[in-house]
C-alpha cells in the first residue's frame, strides 16, 4: 500500500492531465508545487524569504521535464522568473527513515538544455512525492498520513543563491545523547524532529516537536515534546533556531479541559527544561544539525535530513 500510493497519485494526475496531440503521442503530468524560497545575496549577505509556486510539467513519453517560476522575490525588491525546458528526469524509489514510508523522486540529473528566460545557473530540481506528518487529534501525536509533493530546488542567478525550504519538515537521523559521570552515550534513531515555521507577517518563529523522545535507555519515552515559538534566524548560510532555558510542553490528548476552560492539549514539562537548543539548516536546506542540553544532564547532538532515503 505504501508503495502504491504515490504511484497511484501519479497515475491519477496522469489521468487528468494527459493529452494526445495531433502531432504524435504525448503524455504529460503537470504539478503546481508551492514552496518557500530563501534567496540570499552571496556578496552582501542580504536575504529574502518568499512563498513561491513552481509549475512543473513532465513528459513521460520522452522523459523530459519543464519547470517554470514566476517572479520569485530576491533581496532588494527584485524578482526573477525563468522557464527551463527539456530537462531529462528519472524516477526512483525512496524510503523515509521512519514508518516504512515510501516516496518517489523526480530528479533532474543534468543541467537544463534550455536555461529559460533568465540568467539561471546550477539549477537543481528534485520533486518528491512523500507522505507527511499530520497531527491526529484523537491521539495527539503525529502520524504519517497524507501524501503530497514537495520540491528541493536551488539555482544561482548572478550573485543570488535561491533555495527552497519546507516550513513543516520532520528530520530523521541519529541522535546521540551523553550523560552521567563517567559519561554514557546513548544512540537513538527513532527520535524525529518536526519543525513547523510560522513565517506569516514576519513573525519568523518555529515550534519544534521531538517525536518519540528518549534520551537514555532507562529514561521514559515521551511521545511528543514541544518547544514552542522559538525565534528563527535567516542568513546567507541558511536557517538557524536558538533558545536557552526553554520549558517544553508534553502532549496530553483526549477531551482536554483546562482549569480556565481552555487548553491547547499540552502541559508544561519543567523537569525536561532545555538549557540550550540550536538548530541549523545549511547547504540545500534539506538536512539539519541539532544540539541541545536537557534537564541539566542530557547533552544531545543530531544530524539528519527530512528527505526520504533512496532504496535503489
Amino acid at each position: 500500500m505504501n508503495k502504491l500510493f504515490p504511484a497511484a497519485m501519479l497515475g491519477v494526475a496522469l489521468l487528468f492531465t494527459a493529452c494526445d496531440k495531433n502531432d504524435g503521442p504525448e503524455s504529460t503530468v503537470k504539478f503546481m508545487v508551492p514552496s518557500y524560497t530563501l534567496a540570499t545575496d552571496q556578496t552582501t549577505g542580504a536575504f529574502k524569504v518568499y512563498t513561491a509556486t513552481f509549475e512543473t510539467e513532465f513528459d513521460q513519453v520522452n522523459g523530459l521535464a519543464e519547470i517554470e517560476a514566476d517572479r520569485i522575490a530576491l533581496p532588494g525588491d527584485r524578482t526573477i522568473s525563468f522557464d527551463a525546458d527539456d530537462m531529462p528526469y528519472s524516477i526512483a524509489s525512496f524510503t523515509s527513515g521512519y514508518g516504512n514510508t515510501n516516496a518517489y523522486s523526480i530528479v533532474s540529473q543534468y543541467p537544463p538544455l534550455d536555461q529559460g528566460s533568465a540568467d539561471i545557473t546550477n539549477l537543481n530540481v528534485k520533486l518528491y512525492a512523500g507522505r507527511f506528518w499530520v497531527t491526529n487529534p484523537n491521539i495527539g501525536i503525529s502520524e504519517l498520513k497524507t501524501t503530497s509533493f514537495f520540491p528541493v530546488i536551488s539555482f544561482n542567478s548572478g550573485n543570488y543563491l535561491v533555495r527552497t525550504f519546507w516550513p513543516d519538515a520532520t528530520f530523521f537521523g541519529t541522535t546521540t545523547t551523553s550523560f552521567g559521570d563517567p559519561v554514557t552515550n546513548y544512540e537513538n534513531k527513532q527520535i524525529g524532529y518536526r519543525v513547523i515555521m510560522n513565517l506569516k507577517d514576519g513573525k519568523n518563529t518555529a515550534d519544534v516537536y521531538l517525536l518519540n523522545a528518549k534520551f537514555a535507555e532507562a529514561a521514559p519515552q515521551i511521545s511528543v515534546i514541544r518547544l514552542k515559538e522559538l525565534p528563527i534566524e535567516f542568513s546567507a548560510n541558511g536557517i538557524s533556531i536558538k533558545a536557552t532555558d526553554k520549558v517544553p510542553d508534553m502532549v496530553m490528548s483526549g477531551n482536554v479541559t483546562g482549569s480556565n476552560g481552555t487548553s491547547d492539549g499540552y502541559v508544561p514539562m519543567p523537569s525536561f527544561t532545555f538549557n540550550e537548543f540550536t538548530f541549523t539548516q545549511t547547504g540545500d536546506l534539506t538536512s539539519a544539525t541539532i544540539g541541545y542540553k536537557v534537564a541539566g544532564k542530557y547533552s544531545a547532538t543530531f544530524t539528519g535530513s527530512y528527505l526520504p532515503v533512496a532504496t535503489k
Binding site: 519515552q221 511521545s223 496530553m252 490528548s253 477531551n255 479541559t257 482549569s259 502541559v267 519543567p270 523537569s271
Partner: protein
C-alpha cells in the same frame, strides 16, 4: 465379546474391520509398514499408565512433550522441537475422526480410549494445517468390539477423584451403540498464599454417545458425539523472587465443548469413499490475575465462542494391481470465533504502570486517575475457512514401496476488532509551596475498530520410499521428505497492550506499537527429512522403531514477551530454525507375562537466523522444547489360576524430560529430570484393582516459565501422588 485383561496392542493399528478411523482410511495399513515414525499405545497399556488425557502420554512417545501447567486451556505440545504455546497447535488431533480445530479443547479426559496413535513429523499432505509436528489420532472403544458395562473409579492424593460408567450394547451384527459418562474432581496440590485456597482445583464431566451401524454390506456409518464441561482454578505460578504462589485476584477456567463426528463409508467396485463430517462448538472463559502478585494490578478475562464444521471426503482407489494404490480427497472447514478479552486495570496497576511512569517524567504536573479501576475492552470476531485437495500415490516394486503426495491448501482468516476505553484523569500543577492546583482534566474515549484479512495458499508435498527387509514386511527401512505447514493468525492477546500504549501515548508517554507489525503472524513452514526403520521379530517378541530427522523450519512461530512493563504475549515468526535428532522405541516381551517398553527421543533445536532487533539468537536453543525425552517401563504378570484374584501385575516406569530452555537467550533452563512411577494391580474375571504411584521420588521440577511486567514466574510440576483405581467390566 469381552477382551481379555491382558490384551495388548502392539505397534500396529488397532482398527478392526468393524470400525473406520481417519488414520486407517488415509494410511491404509499398519503404521509400522509405512514410511513414518509412529507410536501406537493400546487400551491396556493406557490403563496401565493411568492415561486419561493426552498429557498422560507425554514422554511415553519419544520426542513428544506436553507440559502440565496453567489450566486446560494451555495445552502446549512439542514434537521434535516444533511446538506452540498459544494459538495454532503444532500437532493435529483427531478424536473419533473429529479434527479438533481449537487448541483450547485439546486437554480433556476421555474414558475408555481404545488407542492413541502418534505420528511424528509433518502429516500435512494428508491432514493439512497444523500437523507440522505430527498427528495424534485418538479412538475410543467401539461397541462393536466390546459389550457390557465398564465402570471405573479412581482416587489419589491431592483429592484427585475420577469415575466413569460406560454401557456398550450390540443390538445385532449390524448395529451397536455405546453411552459413556465420566466425571473427575480434584481439590489440588498447590495453595495460594494470599488466601490459603488450593489454586489448581478442578471439576469436569463428559458424556459420549458412539454408534456403529453397518447399513448394508457396502455402506457403513459411525457417529460419535460427545459433550464435556470443565470448571477449574489453575495457574499455580510461583513468583521467582519470593518462591511463593501469591496472588489476590481469582483465576479460573471454564469450558463447554461439544463435538460430533459422522463417518460414512461407501464401498464401490472401483473405489471406497469415506465422508467424515464434524461439528464442533467451544464456549470457554478464562479469567486471570494477570500480574500474579498479591496486589491489585490488573485482571484479564477471555471469553471465546467458536463453532466449526469440517468435511473430509476421502477416496481410496481399489487396487488395480498389486503395484499401485492411491488415496485422494477434498477437505474443507469453516470456523467462526467470537472473543471478548477485557483487561481491567486496578488501583496498583493504575498507580504503578500508568501514573508513576507519567509523573516521573513530569512531576511538576502530575496526573491522577478519575477512578481506581477502568477497563480496556477488546472484542474480536475471527471467521476462518479453508479448502484443500490432496492425493497420494503408492507404488510397489518388489520390496520397494514409493509414495508421492501433494496437497493444495487455501485458507483465509479475518479479524474484526473493536478496542474501547472510556476513562479520564486530572492534571495538577505543583505550586512553589508544595501544594497542587488543578491544571486540566482529560477525558479519554477510545473506540477503534477495523478488519484485517490474511490469505494463505500452500502446496504441501511428500515423497517417501520404504524397503522391506523381509517377505512379511515386518522389518523395513524408509526415507521420507515432507513439507509441514502451520497456519498464520492474529495476535489478539496484544490488543490490550496496543490499547494501553495508545492510552499512554495520549498522556504523552510510552512507546508506540505499529499495529500492522504486531497483530498478525505468518504461517510456519518446515521441510522434514527423515530416515528410519521398523523391526518386528516374533519370538521373543521384539519391536524396534528408530528414526533420524532433520527439520528446516521457516518463520517458526514463537511466543515472545514484549519488552517493558507489559503483560501481553506476542506470537512472532523466528527467521529460521533447524531441528535435528532421533527417536528409538522398543517393545520387548522376552518371556510370557513380562514386557518392557522403552522410548528415547533426542532433539537439538536451534535458531539459525533470528534477530528480534535487540539480540541475535543464532545458535541458541529453541525455548520450551525439551532436548531429551526418555520413557522406560517394565511389567510382569503372575497367573494365579482360577481364583478370585486371577492375576497380579507389577509395573514400574520412569519418564525423563529435559533440558528445557525457558527463553531465547538460553539464560534459564530446567535440567533433565526423571519421574519414577509404579503400580500393582490385582485382576479377577470382571474386575481390576490397581494401586499406583506417580513421581515416587517427589522430584522437584518446573513445567513452565514466563515473564509478566518483567517479573519472572515458574510453575512447579506435580509432586508425589499415590492412588488406587478400580475397574469393573461385565
Amino acid at each position: 465379546m469381552n477382551m481379555s485383561a491382558n490384551e495388548r496392542v502392539h505397534t500396529d493399528t488397532v482398527t478392526t474391520l468393524d470400525e473406520v478411523n481417519v488414520l486407517s482410511v488415509k494410511q491404509e495399513g499398519r503404521l509400522d509398514g509405512e514410511a513414518v515414525s509412529a507410536t501406537v499405545i493400546g487400551r491396556q497399556e493406557l490403563e496401565n499408565l493411568g492415561v486419561a488425557a493426552l498429557k498422560g502420554i507425554s514422554d511415553v512417545v519419544p520426542n513428544f512433550y506436553i507440559p502440565d501447567y496453567g489450566s486446560r486451556i494451555t495445552s502446549s505440545i512439542y514434537v521434535r522441537g516444533i511446538g506452540a504455546r498459544m494459538d495454532q497447535p503444532a500437532v493435529g488431533l483427531n478424536v473419533d475422526n473429529v479434527p479438533f480445530l481449537n487448541k483450547n479443547a485439546f486437554d480433556f479426559d476421555v474414558a475408555d480410549i481404545a488407542s492413541i496413535e502418534m505420528l511424528r513429523g509433518p502429516q500435512s499432505t494428508l491432514f493439512g494445517r497444523n500437523t507440522i509436528g505430527g498427528l495424534i489420532n485418538v479412538s475410543t472403544l467401539s461397541p462393536m468390539r466390546w459389550q457390557g458395562w465398564r465402570i471405573m473409579a479412581s482416587g489419589g492424593t491431592g483429592n484427585d477423584w475420577k469415575a466413569s460408567v460406560g454401557w456398550y450394547h450390540k443390538g445385532s451384527d449390524r448395529f451397536a451403540t455405546a453411552l459413556v459418562g465420566s466425571f473427575s474432581y480434584l481439590v489440588g496440590f498447590f495453595r495460594n498464599e494470599f488466601d490459603g485456597d488450593r489454586v489448581d482445583h478442578e471439576i469436569s464431566g463428559g458424556l459420549r454417545w458412539k454408534t456403529d451401524w453397518r447399513i448394508s454390506p457396502s455402506l457403513y456409518l459411525q457417529n460419535s458425539a460427545s459433550a464435556s464441561m470443565l470448571r477449574q482454578g489453575g495457574y499455580p505460578y510461583v513468583y521467582v523472587k519470593t518462591g511463593e504462589i501469591n496472588y489476590n485476584d481469582t483465576c479460573s477456567y471454564r469450558r463447554f465443548f461439544f463435538n460430533d463426528g459422522l463417518t460414512l463409508r461407501l464401498n464401490h467396485e472401483a473405489f471406497t469413499m469415506t465422508s467424515i463430517t464434524s461439528v464442533q462448538h467451544l464456549d470457554d472463559n478464562m479469567t486471570l490475575d494477570q500480574d500474579f502478585l498479591p496486589l491489585p494490578y490488573f485482571t484479564l478475562t477471555q471469553k471465546q465462542r467458536e463453532t466449526a464444521i469440517t468435511e473430509d471426503l476421502v477416496f481410496n482407489g481399489k487396487t488395480l494391481s498389486e503395484h499401485y494404490s492411491w488415496v485422494a480427497g477434498a477437505f474443507g472447514f469453516y470456523k467462526h470465533l467470537d472473543m471478548e478479552a477485557p483487561v481491567t486495570f486496578k488501583d496498583v496497576g493504575i498507580a504503578e504502570l500508568i501514573e508513576k511512569h507519567r509523573n516521573d517524567a513530569n512531576p511538576y504536573y502530575p496526573v491522577k486517575w478519575d477512578s481506581r479501576s477502568f477497563t480496556l475492552g477488546s472484542d474480536f470476531t475471527l471467521p476462518t475457512f479453508g479448502v484443500a485437495l490432496y492425493h497420494e500415490s503408492r507404488f510397489t516394486l518388489s520390496r520397494w514401496h514409493f509414495t508421492l503426495g501433494l496437497r493444495l491448501d487455501f485458507e483465509q482468516t479475518s479479524l474484526s476488532y473493536r478496542s474501547r476505553c472510556n476513562t479520564g484523569y486530572s492534571v495538577d500543577q505543583l505550586q512553589p509551596d508544595g501544594s497542587f492546583l488543578p491544571y486540566a482534566h482529560v477525558g479519554i474515549d477510545i473506540d477503534d475498530s477495523g478488519k484485517l484479512t490474511r490469505r494463505y495458499f500452500n502446496w504441501l508435498p511428500k515423497v517417501s520410499v520404504l524397503y522391506d527387509l523381509d517377505d512379511n514386511g515386518d522389518c523395513n527401512l524408509y526415507a521420507t521428505v515432507s513439507k509441514g505447514y502451520k497456519a498464520g493468525g492474529f495476535n489478539t492477546q496484544m490488543f490490550s497492550d496496543v490499547l494501553q500504549q495508545r492510552l499512554m501515548g495520549m498522556m504523552g508517554i510510552g512507546a508506540r506499537y505499529d499495529v500492522d507489525d504486531i497483530v498478525g503472524y505468518k504461517p510456519e513452514y518446515s521441510w522434514n527429512y527423515e530416515i528410519g526403520g521398523h523391526f518386528s521379530l516374533p519370538r521373543p517378541r521384539l519391536d524396534i522403531d528408530f528414526s533420524l530427522f532433520y527439520i528446516d523450519c521457516r518463520d517458526q512461530q514463537l511466543t515472545m514477551f514484549p519488552d517493558g512493563t507489559t503483560t501481553g504475549r506476542i506470537m512472532t515468526n523466528a527467521g529460521r530454525t533447524r531441528s535435528l535428532g532421533g527417536e528409538l522405541s522398543l517393545l520387548w516381551t522376552p518371556i510370557d507375562r513380562f514386557d518392557v517398553r522403552a522410548g528415547y527421543g533426542f532433539t537439538d533445536a536451534r535458531f539459525v537466523r533470528f534477530n528480534n532487533g535487540i539480540s541475535d539468537f543464532k545458535g541458541k536453543h529453541l525455548p520450551y522444547a525439551p532436548g531429551n525425552t526418555l520413557f522406560l517401563s517394565a511389567g510382569y504378570s503372575f497367573d494365579l489360576g482360577e481364583k478370585f484374584v486371577r492375576e497380579i501385575r507389577i509395573d514400574a516406569d520412569m519418564s525423563g524430560t529435559g533440558p528445557i530452555y525457558w527463553n531465547e537467550q538460553n539464560s534459564l533452563r530446567q535440567n533433565f529430570y526423571i519421574l519414577p512411577g509404579a503400580s500393582v494391580s490385582l485382576s479377577g474375571t470382571h474386575w481390576n484393582l490397581k494401586i499406583w504411584g506417580k513421581n515416587l521420588s517427589d522430584t522437584r521440577y518446573h513445567t513452565f516459565y514466563f515473564l509478566s511486567m518483567g517479573n519472572e514466574f515458574l510453575q512447579k510440576g506435580r509432586p508425589l501422588q499415590i492412588g488406587a483405581t478400580l475397574r469393573l467390566n461385565f
